[in-house]
């Protein structure tokens, strides 16, 4: 979501270069007063003028800017991802230079130039330590422009929530349970994958695009998908007991790996957790449902 950059408190920090410059200006100024030398007054005036201009430009540099952060669709805890960072300069004349956006110490992006009435996009590394719904958090936006004397900027809290899946962990071993009776979940028709052609049915959300029967589109005027018999690989219903591990997080991590692997291989996979039960199935949407259930399970399930 795009939002204007408005800081509760604008912080101005003097950089080392700035401190050196101020010290030099004071020194020359004192020398000018002491010696009554007008040329030193001229040098002092020049130094003061540059400092004042620097302050004015730094003030303008952070005005009328919008910030938008877009995270990738899949975020995993403890894994670095790249969020898209878009800054819009709404000023009509003044470009913005050297805008730094920082989330954590090592999560930093810099915009060297944002022309007037333009938006510029870059990426910023993001990292979440916990699964579940997480806030994007606090972003520090600063600019040293123009001379690097002042570090001017502020913090902006982005309260947009993102869903962070558990960190995929290597699977030590697996105890798979069979498909329970009277189950009609998974793929909408209960059909499998990899076997013989069975027939066609109407497209439903979550069906893999590879199974869309395009020729049927011209005949029926709607999307249909091809159905196949199961290939023989049994559907996988995962529970917390399916994988070993001393802690819940470790088990969830292994389950995420299994879901991702099964989905990639085309094996129907489901979840049977104490709070949620999802029958085996395939497709991206189903996979996301499973990952969401794992992300929100237990402590991480604060919605």
């Amino acid at each position: 979501m795009r939002r204007p950059l408005r800081f509760d408190r604008v912080r101005v920090q003097i950089t080392r270069t700035g401190k050196l410059y101020i010290a030099l200006t004071l020194l020359v100024g004192v020398a000018a007063v002491n010696t009554a030398n007008n040329l030193l007054y001229l040098v002092t005036a020049g130094l003061l003028a540059l400092m004042s201009v620097s302050g004015m430009v730094a003030y303008c540099a952070l005005r009328r800017l919008d910030l938008e952060v877009r995270t990738p669709r899949e975020l995993y805890a403890h894994q670095q991802a790249y969020a898209s960072l878009r800054v819009t300069n709404r000023r009509r004349l003044l470009p913005t230079f050297m805008l730094q956006v920082r989330r954590e110490e090592d999560e930093r992006a810099i915009f060297l130039l944002i022309p007037p009435i333009r938006e510029v996009e870059t990426t910023i590394p993001v990292h979440f330590a916990r699964r579940g719904h997480q806030m994007l958090g606090e972003f520090t936006i600063t600019s040293d422009f123009p001379f690097g004397f002042f570090h001017r900027g502020g913090r902006i809290l982005l309260d947009d929530e993102v869903l962070v899946f558990p960190q995929p962990l290597p699977v030590r071993s697996i105890h798979s349970s069979g498909l329970p009776e009277n189950d009609s979940g998974g793929t909408p028709s209960g059909r499998g994958v990899g076997g013989d052609f069975h027939g066609i049915r109407r497209y439903a959300a979550g069906d893999p695009p590879s199974r869309i029967y395009w020729r049927a589109l011209s005949r029926y005027g709607a999307l249909h998908v091809k159905e196949f018999d199961e290939e023989g690989r049994p559907p996988l219903l995962l529970t917390l007991e399916s994988v070993p591990g001393p802690s819940l997080e470790e088990r969830l991590g292994q389950l995420v790996t299994l879901v991702l692997r099964a989905n990639a291989e085309g094996t129907p996979v489901g979840l049977d957790l104490p709070s949620v039960r999802l029958s085996p199935g395939g497709g991206l949407l189903h996979r996301n449902r499973l990952l969401t259930a794992l992300a929100l399970y237990g402590d991480g399930g604060v919605t």
Binding site: R2, T17, L20, L24, V28, G29, A31, A32, V33, N34, T35, A36, N37, N38, L39, L40, Y41, L42, V43, T44, A45, G46, L48, A49, L50, S52, V53, S54, M56, V57, D66, R86, T88, R90, R92, P95, F97, M98, A109, I110, F111, L112, L113, I114, P115, I117, R118, E119, V120, E121, T122, T123, D144, F145, P146, F147, G148
Partner: protein, 655 residues
């Protein structure tokens, strides 16, 4: 939408787009400026050394190889600074400090450079510039400072970018845009510099003189003048002072006499300057013609100040200058740099002072051992006259008719005065000394006055430029009841009093610029500041005191209209040059940006139109239509008639 410019790629071979090249260009420009500043006040040897550092550093930076390791450079710096501290310097401590800056600057240039080093180069160049500000008030400093300000702006602006872009290619257009920003910053910095320069509070006098070195003796005068000294400096052309005539007074009708020193004590061969107590003026005096003038004195290395004929009043007094006996002005301490003072002088040629008995005795003293020729001069030439003024006139006439001015020292006798009177040729000192002795022998108190005569009048600045070659010595004879009378026995032909050839109009113009610079830099003090503030407050009061007469109000209104018209005119001119479709599309972009729909950097007009249409479906057809027309004109060269443009314009209103 394109990715941000920070996503630059690693440099492979494209040297022209390397950001470090820009940094290096700026750094070496700074170093060259430091070199120019160093040449203003340091020896040619040090200047040459710095030039060598610059050349070597640039060559090594271009090759990307620095043969000297860091420890070697550090060792070189330490040894250089120690050596320079041990060597004598013409400018004392400050000179050594500046010489050390040259060595450190060289060391910075010879090694590999990080962004910190570029800043240090800039700082050291500034130090050299400050050094030239302390040691010289020359116009060249103004030129260097005018170059330093934009260069410093560009360097300070660029260094953070150079640091950020290290190892990447230079994004296209960045340097151009930053150049534009530098120009804007500079345009804002120049009026602020002027404001700060005139607004920063001034001290009445220097509080500390420690840093300024004592100037070397440059004047042709000292407190002891032996016969022949003035002759040696008669050919020197370096300026001594410039005197601006105030109140619109033009060139003076006769060659002006610039008084500096009074010599009363003599042994017959040399004369010693004395500082008798300040005398009171004779009753009824002071009705003569006076001239106010501002003197810009070059540093002379002594306390002597020069002023027209008989200085009556001078400023600034107390801390910086004072009146001394013999109607001369003295500086409180030898000025280390150019020094300005204002004097009001009586130019009638008389100093109407009371002569006390002690002073009379001193000015009638005749040293023993004077050659007979001087006694003969007194008896033969002056003898017959009875009144002091007549005696003076006879002597003057004697020397003006029978003697010639020459720059060769007279020879032929052990005593210089006898040689002079025999050869009937000599310098002004000989004429003056012989006249004073003859007058004293005839009972008229007399003394020598040292100073300058004439000078080159510059009509472009209404001032006299007085050079060393105008040095002169003349006589003052005391006439009871009227005071000291100026007597110049030196024949005018060939002497400084005879005038100097006028300078070319170009050199007069350059010199008048120099004087303006001095007026701005030396002349601006606390008094000027207070006067300027008073004048400003007066102007503001007059402008807003309403009574605001129609005339003032009209003027104010006119000024406001003019100020408002400038950006309007610029905008109109720019718009007039735009194609109507370009203008229309710009309006569309502005309207959409107000609704937070902003065209992306390098996003095509049709892509943007589709995105904007999705965001504002109610205006989609208009957005698409205008964008298509713009793209067809911009990229396809398609033209549109008036009617179509009007239609598109109507569409814009629906967005």
């Amino acid at each position: 939408m394109k990715r941000d410019v920070t996503e630059g790629v690693k440099v492979k071979g494209d040297r022209t787009r390397r950001p470090d090249r820009v940094t290096l260009v700026l750094t070496y420009a700074m170093a060259c400026l430091g070199l120019a500043a160093a040449l203003l006040h340091l020896s040619l040897l040090l200047g040459g050394l710095l030039a060598a550092f610059i050349t070597l550093g640039a060559a090594w930076d271009l090759r990307g190889r620095h043969p000297l390791s860091t420890w070697m450079i550090n060792l070189f710096s330490v040894m250089g600074v120690i050596a320079l501290a041990a060597l004598p310097s013409a400018h004392g401590f400050l000179g050594r400090l500046l010489a050390a800056s040259v060595v450190l600057l060289g060391a910075k240039l010879l090694g590999p450079k990080a962004s910190r080093d570029h800043l240090q180069v800039m700082l050291l160049s500034l130090l050299l510039l400050i050094g030239s500000a302390i040691l010289t008030v020359d116009l060249t400093f103004g030129v260097l400072f005018a170059a330093y300000l934009p260069l410093a702006t560009a360097t300070l602006l660029w260094i953070p970018f150079g640091r950020e872009l290290e190892g990447r290619t230079l994004p296209r257009g960045l340097v151009r845009r930053l150049g534009g920003v530098a120009l804007v910053l500079l345009a804002a910095a120049i009026p602020l510099t002027t404001l700060f320069y005139f607004g920063l509070p001034r001290a009445t006098a220097p509080l500390w003189h420690g840093i300024a070195p004592s100037p070397a003796l440059a004047s042709g005068f000292s407190d002891r003048v032996s016969l022949g000294d003035v002759g040696r400096i008669a050919l020197r052309t370096d300026p001594v002072f410039r005197a601006v005539l105030l109140e619109g007074k033009g060139p003076l009708p006769a060659a002006p006499y610039w008084r500096g020193l009074v010599f009363e004590d003599t042994d017959g061969v040399s004369w010693r300057a004395t500082e008798p107590p300040v005398s009171t003026l004779l009753a009824g005096s002071g009705s003569g013609e006076t001239v106010r003038h501002l003197v810009y004195l070059e540093p002379q290395g002594d306390h002597t100040l020069f002023a027209l004929d008989h200085p009556l009043a001078a400023s600034p007094t107390s801390l910086t200058l004072r009146f001394s006996g013999g109607a001369v002005l003295k500086a409180a301490r030898p000025p280390a740099t150019r020094f300005r003072y204002e004097v009001e002088s009586d130019i009638t040629g008389w100093v109407p002072e009371v002569l006390g008995p002690e002073a009379r005795a001193r000015n009638l003293f005749v040293p023993p051992g004077l050659p007979p020729a001087v006694h003969r001069l007194a008896s033969d030439v002056v003898g017959p006259a009875r009144r002091p003024q007549e005696k003076v006139e006879r002597l003057r006439a004697h020397f003006h008719t029978g003697y010639t001015y020459t720059t060769q020292a007279p020879v032929g006798s052990d005593h210089p005065l006898e040689a002079f009177l025999t050869a009937r040729a000599g310098y002004c000192e000989y004429f003056a000394a012989a006249t004073a002795m003859a007058l004293r022998l005839s009972g008229v108190p007399a003394r020598l006055v040292g100073g300058y005569v004439g000078g080159e009048f510059n009509d472009q600045g209404n001032y006299y430029l007085v050079r060393q070659r105008s040095a002169h010595v003349w006589v003052e004879a005391y006439i009871d009841g009227r005071g000291w009378m100026r007597v110049d026995p030196t024949p005018p032909a060939g002497s400084p009093a005879g005038g100097t050839s006028p300078a070319s109009s170009f050199s007069r113009f350059v010199d008048s610029l120099r004087l303006r610079w001095y007026a701005l830099t030396i002349g601006y003090d606390m008094r000027s500041q207070v006067a300027a503030l008073r004048s400003l407050s007066e102007t503001i009061r007059n402008t807003f005191a309403f009574s605001l007469e129609w005339e003032n109000g009209g003027r104010l209104l006119g000024l406001a209209v003019l100020l408002a018209a400038v950006p309007l005119l610029v905008s109109l001119t720019r718009k007039a040059r735009q194609h109507p479709l370009e203008r229309l599309y710009a309006q569309l972009l502005r309207r959409l940006s107000r609704r937070r729909i902003v065209r992306g950097h390098k996003e095509g007009p049709l892509d943007f139109a589709r995105r904007a249409s999705r965001a504002r479906p109610e205006g989609a057809s208009s957005i698409m239509e205008i964008s298509r027309a713009y793209a067809a004109w911009r990229y396809g060269g398609r033209t549109y008639g008036e009617e179509r443009l009007r239609e598109l314009s109507r569409n814009l209103r629906r967005v």
